[in-house]
Amino acid sequence: MVDIVNIRAHAKDLLEKGTVKMVLGYQRGTAGVLAEPAFITDAGQADHLVWDPTCVQNLALYLVNEKKAQSHQRDPDTRPIAIIAKGCDSRAVAVLLQERHFERKDVHVIGVSCGTLGVVDKNKLSKALNGRVATKVEPHGTDSFKVTTAEGFVDVAAADVLADRCLECACAYPAMHDVVFGEKHEDRGYPARFTALGQLEAKSEDERWAYWEGHFNRCLRCYACRSVCPMCYCPECVVDSIELMVDPTTSADEKANRIKWIERSAVASENSMYHLVRAIHLAGRCIDCAECERVCPVDIPIRMLNNKLEKEAKDMFGYEPGLDPELPSLVASFRDDDPNSFIR
């Protein structure tokens, strides 16, 4: 069990001593039952921090944002940032280190173990409560949650409301940390990794296309899935229309003929392009925090695209992202015995 009191005390200590400039954590929000990101810079506010199964966000995103902001500051505060990180989040930090976004000394990882649980899926929760509104979710024992609603308390089985990614999590204990709260559990008793993916892979080619075409068709191209991903940090994404500098001599032809890999129109063909580019660009980098899938307002199962590439990388190249910041990245490395028989 993780006691928030200990996390708060640790955060307070770091801020009082000035060893970190900020603690990235979670606090209660006003928008609903989910916690919201907290940016604590003052030891007096460390008591706002919360830790419970509604702390869904992967805060590693903000490490990148901070670093980007710093590059514009004249006299930046270069002290490290402390981040509260679940197992998946800590792997995101490792990938960002691997990609040299910052150095190990720039970040203080406050690991929290999800133990035998994890975080809740808001949709599953509302389904389990039959539409009643949850106001609080607490761990209850090793396999259920105590959920508070206006009508009282309900005990909900964890397996029914845990996020899909948590059900298949391979790293509920933070691999990389400076301090860690909570214990390690070897067997969490949930389905094996890639179970959901396997079901999709088992479908026929036509069924798979029908599945994805239907989903790509529905995409709004709101890019929340991109914006929320800690690894989608490119200052200029392939879908943004900012790559052509226009001056008074730029002709209409040049404007019309500039390279646009993906049109703005949210139609199936362009949406497929977006999703495929996104998935490929995250190959070997996605650590399956599934934030992309969680934030999608129309529930497109994009996590499966990332999962597919993660599984191939593991099976064929023995590559697992986010475990060792010193390893070369998946697509910038090779082995002599990489698969070759598919090539003519």
Binding site: A31, G32, L34, L61, L220, N257, E263, S265, D299
Partner: protein
């Protein structure tokens, strides 16, 4: 005069309408307006939705609209071909009061100072059959705080009120009367008891607890005063700059125009209008590379000010209708009610 429609006759009514009918249905885990299949009259249409994830704004303002097509032979002037839409009539059923109130606000944008023929030709063919909220469908509803109510008829053509096994039906516009007429015998005259029950439900709903930021009239001056406030940066600190809050808003209407080239020699293609929004990094990007709204704080301010200050200055009413989507769907809990509250308190 008002009438009564049995719930089991809703599908038959949809079938009787000479229009493409849409109603909310749960598909892929999401409530969305879906075409009502002809012959769904065996109770196939049921208005049991909380509110749809996407608002109904796309019926008049689709996410992609072709403005015209072009073709240019080498050395010649480009030839443009008009593509003004001429849509079949559309009836959208189950529109919640907040979304109904979105329609006249969008009309203000696309009619008047600028007449937008694309919007107008679709809008003229679209009718909204609303469903009053007996209880607020979302914990983030705040229609009352923005001058609406769970039984508001604004922007609707017909209003339905759920009386259990039947709807109390009120025509709001002449188009609404036509729609009811098309249903013929499916509609019975409402008795005094039904009207009274409907009234009771409306006033019960008006008493429901909702979120609020206090005085609506205080919002515009507060936003004006706090334009340069440091609070914007801190309130937007967690914002990821996605398109959720705007794309899902029933009244956000910003768009981009681009040329989609589909062939060379002759060069041909389409000029298209697509939804755009103020939270994207390239929205205000100048061709020089300068971006006047670089920070997320400035973008949040733009979103809130547009709804509660600039629109008020331009059109005499606030633009937000309190549907709560931008709050419920924001990935990081940014909450327009809380933002307004902070601004008014400051």
């Amino acid at each position: 005069m008002s009438s009564i429609l049995k719930k089991t006759d809703l599908g038959a009514w949809a079938a009787a309408l000479e229009a493409e009918v849409f109603a909310p249905a749960l598909a892929d885990g999401v409530w969305a307006y879906q075409p009502v299949a002809p012959g769904a009259n065996d109770g196939g249409v049921a208005l049991t939705h909380p509110n749809t994830a996407r608002p109904p704004k796309n019926f008049a303002f689709p996410q992609r609209e072709v403005l015209y097509t072009f073709e240019q032979l080498k050395g010649q002037a480009p030839k443009l071909t008009e593509t003004l839409p001429n849509p079949a009539p559309v009836v959208v059923m189950g529109v919640r009061p907040c979304d109904g109130r979105g329609a006249p606000r969008n009309d203000m944008v696309f009619t008047g100072a600028f007449d937008d023929p694309y919007y107008q030709s679709r809008r003229a063919k679209t009718a909204y059959v609303g469903l009053a909220c007996n209880t607020p469908p979302s914990p983030n509803c705040f229609c009352k705080a923005v001058g609406g109510s769970p039984s508001s008829k604004e922007g609707l053509d017909v209003q339905l009120t759920d009386l259990g096994d039947r709807y109390h039906v009120v025509a709001v516009t002449p188009r609404g009367e036509e729609l009811i007429e098309a249903g013929g015998k499916l509609f019975a005259e409402a008795g005094a008891a039904d009207e009274k029950e409907s009234q009771r439900l409306h006033s019960e709903a008006a008493k429901c607890e909702q979120r609020t930021f206090g005085d609506l009239a205080a919002a515009a001056p507060a936003l004006k005063k706090n334009f340069d406030s440091e609070m914007w940066q801190s309130l937007a600190k967690a914002c990821i700059g996605c398109g959720i809050c705007t794309f899902l808003c029933p009244t956000c209407h910003c768009f981009d125009i681009s040329d989609e080239v589909t062939g060379q020699s002759p060069m041909r293609g389409e000029r298209v209008r697509t939804w755009d929004n103020c939270q994207f990094p390239d929205f205000t990007m100048h061709s020089s590379g300068h971006n006047p709204r670089e920070t997320l704080g400035a973008r949040l301010r733009q979103r809130v000010n547009h709804k509660f200050l600039y629109f008020v200055e331009n059109n005499g009413t606030q633009q937000c209708t309190g549907c709560g989507r931008c709050i419920s769907f924001c990935p990081v809990g940014i909450d327009i009610v809380a933002v307004l509250d902070r601004m008014i308190q400051a």
